[in-house]
């Protein structure tokens, strides 16, 4: 996600469009990216650290973006 202080034109365009489409009550919209990585083998702390590193140095541009890493186990998968 873009940092709160960085202008997010995509989110704003969505927000502006919503009332026209009949959706009220949305105070703010921000648009970001979502990556789903499927790992070979179990995700232990070492793997998770490497994924965080990957996010920090590559998947996100920390000059303008924040990120958050979550683990999901495939069996619990929500489509």
């Amino acid at each position: 996600m873009l940092k709160p202080e960085i202008l997010d034109p995509q989110g704003q365009a969505v927000q502006r469009a919503l009332p026209r489409l009949g959706f009220d009550g949305v105070r703010d919209v921000r648009q970001g990216k979502r990556f789903e990585l499927e790992m070979d083998g179990p995700v232990d702390d070492t793997v998770l650290d490497r994924v965080r590193e990957m996010a920090r140095t590559f998947l996100a541009n920390t000059v303008i973006e924040d990120f958050d890493v979550r683990v999901e186990v495939t069996e619990e998968e929500s489509r």
Partner: protein
Amino acid sequence: MTTRVGVVTFPGSLDERDAQRAVKLAGAEPVALWHGDKSLRQVDAVILPGGFSYGDYLRCGAIARFSPVMETIIEEARAGLPVLGICNGFQMLCESHLLPGALTRNDHLHFICRDQRLRVENADTAWTRDYAEGDEITVPLKNGEGGYVADERTLDELEAEGRVVFRYLGGNPNGSRRDIAGVTNAAGNVVGLMPHPEHAVEALTGPTTDGLAFFTSVTTSVLRKLVA
């Protein structure tokens, strides 16, 4: 002796031939560089051309920034090698932190191609020597993610140090903070901008020939440095 200006081809680069043509028209010698080689083939300066390296997937310039050639370029740029990043090249320079800030989606969310007026704010970089401060030039602008952003402190710093090199005139085309079209590093050897001077070097195909001075400037800079 002719100045050798390297132009890097990444997978997905598009404007490298135009950059080479511009270098040639400016009387220097274009040298093709390949993203997978670490060698810069003894060039005196490097251009990172426009295009969609790696499809601009992930973020513009983000994947290219990790290529072998960029390792060398980052090192040499820190040591003073003149480097110009045009559009996608500018994005790479920001991604590799040779220049501050980042480029984000145009505020109107469309790709835009238009002839853009600019003011030269700093004629003391390796790539703008042959302009005068305050010159107004028109060159093509074409991108989808050209909005320059940085935090307020960085922006203030850039302004204070005279590192804003170009500003948009006649309307901000993409929501760039403070109308910034291009910036330089503290040493003035690394310059990045979104508009495309290499498309404004021939009256036949460009809106003007205002872009040529970029490519003559670097020759001047290289020669001066040799003399100095």
